[in-house]
Amino acid sequence: MGQRETTMQDEDLARFLANYRPPAGVADELMQGEGRLRPVWAEFIRRLAVEPPQALAQRFAAGNQYLGDAGVFFRQHTATGSTESGWPLSHIPVLISQEEWAGVSAGLVERADLLEQVMADLYGPANLVRDGKLPAELVAQNPEWLHQMVGLKPKSGHFLHHLAFEIGRSPDGSWFVLGDRTQAPSGAGFALENRMATTRMFSDFHPSANVERLAGFFRGFRDALNGLRENRDGRVAILTPGLHTDTYFEHAYIARYLGFMLLEGAELRTDGDRMSVQTTHGPVPVDVLWRRLDSRSTDPLEFDDASAIGTPGLAAALRAGQMTMVNALGSGVLESRAFMAFMPQIARHLLGKPLSIPNIATWWCGQPKERAYVRDNLERMLIGPAQSTRLPFDIDASTTLGGNLRENADQAVRAWIDRDGATLVGQEAVTLSTTPAMIDGTLAARPMVVRVFAARTPNGWTIMPGGYARIGRTSDPTALGMQSGGSVADVWIVSDKPVAPDTLTGDLDDGTFSRRLPALLPARAADNLFWLGRYAERAETVVRLLRAYHLRQSEYGGDKLLISEALESYLESFGVDTGEPVPVALMQLFDAACGCAGMVRDRFSPDGWMALTDLSKTAHDMASQVTAGNDAARAMSDLLRKIAGFHGLVHENMFRFDGWRFLTLGAAIERSGQMARLLSVFGEKTGPVGGYDLAVEVGDSVMTHRRRYSVATNRNTVIDLLALDGDNPRSLLFQVDRIKQAEERLSRGQVNRPLGDAARKILALRTALAVARPSNLTAARLDEIHQELIEISNAVSQQYFG
């Protein structure tokens, strides 16, 4: 390496950092003053500096591509509702040296242990209150302190198992805690997704960069939760508020990643005092619940009786000592801003020393001295509700930044503090460190906080070596939240020494492996997959009918054919208004399919999900552009191709687990039912002219009919091909065979038991079709068959989803 090369690198670096100007008076992650790079960043940033802008853009695109393909999203709330938005990744990770991180980790472990002690005291003897270390009213009036849980000792021996901390860096370079997330912290899964994205973006650099792996942290926590089960029959489940939560994606992602069930409260039952979940193979005990919803929503009998997402009897099950809740109900009490004011003295009291990592300086205005201090130092205070659990920089209508007050307004704030002191806190308006973010093609310094995760294992707390950083959109530290346009970045903990690759299984790459038994399928998930199959299939039927309708319209124009009128009224039975080129009823079917798939994101391939949402989006986009006739017919053909793509993904790529079988069962029942109806209306001699051809066309069998029969369509050929031909995937017999096979596999393991209700009905129909001749299948008989299929569907629902 010559002198010249080094100089060129320096020139590149200077150009790369031309616009990188950290504000005065704050710490910066990248620079340590006088334009010198921190050693931990040096190699990484020099690598980026020498790359042409297009190469960098390609890297970022690879990250976005990954997140898009994986279906990572978050829910963006707006005035009119909420939508799913793309994941706002800030592509440049935050690099922190392993040595520095070890100190942060030790401090956070100490804090986690302290929080556990406080929690045990507040739900036990309450000595902290009696000894004057914590004002009684701040506990008693904290909406997250749940009197219902007082005196309950958790089965696992611990209240807290999974925590997150929001940390920031002071101007002097030291770290401090801005908030404790103790209720049901989210984000660990997002940290993992960020990591997946950055490893792809920097795939040439990352493996040799000594970045600490995250898998070990998750493996440790997974094993710890599995270890809390009563026995091997019991399950660990993630309890989610459901689809409409901001972080549902993460719940589904973590469940899939760790192999835990994903459940909603309504799926849980208390049989005796052991909780169980209804699966397609009967109730299965749930011994550990990792909850992702607030305590007060968990049990309408004991807490918020308006909660529709809770499980009645859950608190009683905990009291009976039959289950572990992660974290214990009522743990949200530790999140209140006011507690921050007392943590330093609680630490001195309980640990005999000050906190290793301080938390944000906080003064509770319920005390005269503190109130006076806040009044006198308004300009550097954030003033807000004492019981709020929001982070200090989440400025909202109820929080005021003292320094931002207009002239004279400070008098009003002082009066406010005097009047409502007991309900207010002042928190120091901290300055946060800045870190590089690529903004409009140039590297800029933006404020950041890091969310760090802690997990309890049998060996004590472990801290995730990494986490996710939130990066401000502007240099204003109050706009860090994603809801206000902030972005997130991966955090790399960089070691001096090589870091070995790691995976969730922890297996060495020596060819050994273990095969886990297939996971049990919760009844609700099975139900959703079944209906996903039905809705997708029904949508396809409607699309085929609409295409047939518009083809005839475009051929014959204004002259109404009898067959067109028959089609109109037939489509009406689906709620379809043929006056609309892309009918609302069709879009509703796609939406219903997406709704079902959305409920089972943890069990459905990301590709399948993308294909389905793309279908729905395409149909909605078409609605405003497509005109009746030929244009609509072409649009329907486009939709059919996309539907075929969805079927392809499901049938070529989806593992044949029970979930797939329910999807198949739903699709086959729908397809055969639709065929029976179609034939009963259009396969009759007395039906409208052109009915036979229509049936063959909608049954996608025009070519086959031409090849197989030397004659034009007649009743016998149509019924033979579309009802009784076991080789035609559109025929009734073929689909009933599919139903039979799927159901037989579902009820396997019950060989010596009598046939179930569903199996009995399926076998009867299968046998009847096998021996039928076209002349037996009159319109009346076809209507009967349609009815029998409805009964089969009901029997499946009752047997497996009940």
Binding site: Q148, G151, L301, R319
Partner: protein
């Protein structure tokens, strides 16, 4: 006084639900001035499981599960309770203006701590209008007890007892604005008012004797479960109970079932059923004094 008490709560469901879980608070408490001589809680049909317990505030609870399809479900308490005068001493309550200091000095979060009863609770939000009303009927020189009685009387005078005006979920402010409602509404309004002026206040559920002593008027609220207010009057006398529906101090005509911050802590039957459709509820209460001088009952 000795009473025979019966309470029956029945539900009928339009569509049969397949699983029910019910948490009952129907058993009268044992207190220095009240003893439960005998009492039994029964469900019809018989439950699949039952667990009896005591909640944070010391109220007896009964947790019942029915794992069966039901179109009707009823719960009944039958028992005998002896009740004496809760308080008959001098008014040693703190001066109204000393109360904040007394509360601040109370370093405890046990069930009787005034700290649970001074701020908004699930069913009783703080309401400026109610606070203003309360402030208008008290003055700073009153004892806490006098202030509480003044508010009780003022509410009684202004409220019309009207079971048709409200239901079990009516917010206090709505009942207050209409000046109509039943014991639950008046109790919630009075709690909001007391807390608004800095007096810790809670909810008491219980019974009133159904038939008045000879020559006296029948008390309001005896046909169903009754509700009244308890307020914290300082460290000397602690909790004191007032019945604003009848503007009287609580005495031997009352039987205490449960204490809480508001109705949500003491609802006699909290249920959940997994079904759609509406249901109907009925309450029947019978509180009959026992003539202890008679040879047989």
């Amino acid at each position: 006084m000795l009473y025979n008490v019966k309470l029956r709560i029945s539900y009928t469901y339009e569509t049969s639900a397949d699983s029910h879980r019910t948490l009952l608070r129907m058993l009268p408490r044992t207190l220095p001035y009240q003893s439960l001589i005998q009492g039994v809680i029964e469900a019809d049909p018989l439950p699949s499981r039952r667990r009896d317990g005591v909640d944070f505030f010391g109220n007896p609870t009964t947790d019942l599960s029915h794992d069966m399809a039901l179109s009707q479900l009823s719960f009944q308490f039958r028992g005998r309770v002896r009740r004496s005068e809760p308080f008959a001493g001098l008014d040693l309550s703190s001066k109204f203006f000393d109360l904040p200091r007394d509360i601040a000095a109370y370093r405890d979060i046990g069930p009787d701590s005034p700290h649970h009863f001074i701020a908004a609770s699930p069913r009783v939000p703080m309401e400026k209008e109610i606070t203003a009303f309360a402030r208008s009927v008290v003055n700073e020189n009153m004892s806490t007890l006098t202030a509480a009685r003044a508010l009780s009387t003022a509410l009684h005078d202004t409220f019309d007892f009207d079971p048709t005006a409200t239901d079990v979920s009516t917010p206090p402010i709505e009942a207050f604005r209409n000046r109509r409602g039943v014991c639950q509404d008046i109790t919630h309004v009075m709690i909001a008012g007391l807390r608004g002026i800095g007096i810790p206040a809670g909810y008491v559920s219980g019974f009133l004797r159904t038939v008045p002593p000879e020559g006296q008027a029948r008390l309001e609220g005896a046909d169903a479960m009754h509700a009244w207010v308890r307020c914290w009057c300082g460290p000397e006398i602690g909790w004191f109970e007032v019945d604003p529906t009848n503007a009287i101090d609580v005495g031997t005509d009352h039987i205490t079932v449960a204490f809480g911050r508001d109705y949500s802590d003491v609802a006699p039957a909290k249920g959940s059923l997994r079904s759609q459709g509406s249901h109907k509820t009925s309450h029947v209460v019978d509180v009959v004094p026992v003539d202890e001088t008679a040879s047989r009952i």
